[in-house]
């Protein structure tokens, strides 16, 4: 024991590489007492960063949290081989975890079905079973407007990425556009779908500014592209044989629709033609997520909270999109009733990149982290699973809920994950330590919808008990 330690010396040969594989300098000797902090300083120096950016380090897909020497001893890695350490930049800002309910706002007369923060995080809208959409004031935490206009339950709402329009879809198949500043219906409800609306997605700001087009999916099997200023259907994307459960507008201008007929279809947006069909699932496709989804949702707004004039918005949004996307193609993950998920690279190939198995019940919601590095999946088997966002490798399962987990939401810095479940609790999980960070009980009944504001300050949750709860750090 003693001799082997003496023989080790106190340096080890390391090679720093970035996630894509390019080496940062050549292999060098690093003292074994070097930990993540010292490695961060090294990387910043080599990259000539003006400010100290935070990095996290991974050795063979496991995060390095202790000094290098301790890691070597624990895993019995030979000192003679070159140790490859992959560095990944983390978000510059850090979101504080929420831990208390700052306000319970009543107002809805029926269960709250969907909640959404505006992309700048300053406004909050919720749709409910009492057919109204309500806007809430975040400064005073009180109701602001009650928007009446739907004839049946409001099933989904979506803010445009520039924050100027709010669109909601109901169980009777109609879509209402609202003016969020005044809380009034903008024009007449848009009809066209014959059955209930399952999802709404806006066109990204970097493709067209100001925001005009959005796509909706419905149980009747087709998706429609609408124009919010012309107030009519532009194109109807029909092709699915059963209900379309989710729709996403990708950053490269392709619309992805997942359906109960077990397929995912890709459509191009100028003429509404089918580009590709992604087959593989054995049962309904419940949820889709894109690696750049968070950036597309927030548009030109980032954690600094700056407002941009309309012509600059498009440039800033494009900049943010390219930064998140990097050099690799956009990735898509789909969660299904067949208990598995598929990771696709739709622009590259028709075949899935990886099949993510492990859940023991249907997967209800999948969500990429804002930086695209992790995938979180919520399932009816009461667990939330974390997967590597690039390779699809399983990382860990978060257990703690006692009822089916309905929805997940990420904090803007990708360090915290929020999950809401049928057992009426919300739980916050920390990604770095892979454990439960905070338990948020308080709802009297099932939690149907959760959202974390893009500025990271507040969390909102709504459910069957008809109240909206705002949580703060």
């Amino acid at each position: 024991m003693e001799t082997s330690q003496a023989g080790m010396g106190n340096t080890v040969m390391c090679l720093l590489t970035d996630p894509e594989g390019t080496n940062l300098g050549s292999a060098m000797y690093i003292p074994q007492t070097a930990g993540p902090l010292q490695l961060t300083q090294l990387v910043n120096r080599f990259l000539n960063n003006e400010e100290m950016l935070p990095y996290s380090f991974y050795v063979s897909d496991e995060e390095l949290l202790v000094p290098v020497g301790t890691y070597l001893e624990k895993n019995n890695v030979s000192v003679e081989k070159v140790l490859t350490i992959v560095y990944q930049q983390q978000a510059v800002f850090r979101i504080r975890p929420v831990n208390r309910c700052s306000q319970t706002i009543a107002g809805h007369a029926e269960a709250v079905l969907c909640v959404s923060f505006s992309p700048d995080g300053k406004q909050l809208a919720s749709g409910s079973g009492d057919t109204t959409v309500r806007l809430w004031d975040l400064n005073t935490e009180t109701p602001l407007f009650t928007c009446k206009g739907h004839r049946n339950w409001v099933l989904s709402i979506a803010w445009s990425p520039d924050g100027k329009h709010l669109v909601s879809g109901s169980k009777s198949g109609e879509i209402c556009c609202w003016n969020p500043k005044k809380g009034e219906l903008d024009g007449n409800p848009l009809t066209g779908h014959k059955k209930w609306i399952t999802g709404i997605s806006w066109e990204p700001v970097h493709l067209s500014s100001p925001c005009r087009r959005f796509v909706t999916s419905s149980k009747d099997g087709d998706a429609r592209i609408w124009d919010v200023t012309l107030k009519k259907t532009l194109i109807c994307l029909s092709g699915h044989t059963l209900a379309v459960t989710c729709v996403k507008w990708g950053g490269d201008g392709i619309i992805y629709t997942g359906s109960q007929d077990c397929t995912i279809k890709m459509w191009e947006t100028t003429q509404g033609k089918l580009i590709r069909e992604l087959k593989g699932h054995g049962h309904w496709v419940n949820s889709l997520a894109l690696s750049t989804e968070y950036v597309l949702r927030t548009g030109a707004f980032d954690h600094t909270g700056r407002q941009y004039p309309p012509n600059e918005e498009m440039k800033k949004a494009l900049e943010r999109y390219n930064q998140t996307k990097g050099d690799s193609p956009e990735r898509l993950v789909s969660g299904s009733d067949d208990f598995t998920m598929f990771l696709w690279e739709p622009s590259v190939s028709k075949q899935p990149k990886k099949r993510l198995t492990g859940h023991q019940q249907l997967v209800n919601h999948v969500y990429f982290s804002p930086d695209g590095k992790w995938i979180a999946s919520a399932s009816f088997d009461i667990s939330v699973r974390l997967w590597n966002g690039v390779t699809g490798q399983f990382v860990t399962a978060f257990r703690g809920h006692v009822g089916p987990v309905y929805q997940v939401s990420w904090s803007a810095d990708s360090r915290l994950l929020l999950s809401g479940s049928k057992d009426s609790t919300l739980k916050i999980w920390e990604i770095r330590t892979k454990t439960l960070k905070q338990d948020l009980p308080g709802h009297a009944d099932e939690v149907f919808a959760v959202d974390w504001s893009p500025d990271g300050e507040k969390v909102v949750s709504g459910g069957k008990d008809k109240v909206l709860k705002l949580w703060k750090g």
Binding site: C114, K219, A444
Partner: protein, 228 residues
Amino acid sequence: MDVALTTKSSIGIKGKMIAKKNYKEKALMKKTLKMHEESLSRRKADEDVQEGAVPAYLLDRENTSRAKVLSNTIKQKRKERVGKWEVPLPKVRPVAEDEMFRVIRSGKRKTKQWKRMVTKATFVGPGFTRKPPKYERFIRPSGLRFTKAHVTHPELRCTFCLEIIGIKKNPNGPMYTSLGVMTRGTIIEVNVSELGLVTPAGKVVWGKYAQVTNNPENDGCINAVLLV
């Protein structure tokens, strides 16, 4: 013969009868015509807003009925403070000792009669070990030992097969409670973790009381109703 002529010309009771019959036919004809008219015209179905709103991802799924969250802890606390349990079966038929126990004769000449065998269903618990046979006074046969009970939730009307944790109280006396005898009316504690109940404070509920509603020694199973 011309129907109209006969109808017009008949008088008296005959006329009245014919008129009545014709009227009935006319009314029936009018009704069928209206019915046909209705199906021809297309009306938009009036969609009523139903109760029990669920989000889009739950719409096509049949929700299995589940136990509701404990939202009335205040009521529970008040009940506990009063000290009385509101139970579904407040009064039960008392069980006499000679019905509960059977005398077992022991000894070389079978004259000693101090041993008793329990004739009703019992619960012993997982860590149970018999006393040395020479000294045990009460014998609980393994055939009458039960670990699970069929517990019904009174509001949801659905039954679960749950593990018994322990016997809380047997109305026939504290001796039977300590022996673990389950007769009709006994309060038992069952493991409800599979129901996924959560208190408003966020803690998971894993044990609840239930009252036995049948005679387990006659049926071979324990049926109970959950006390919520």
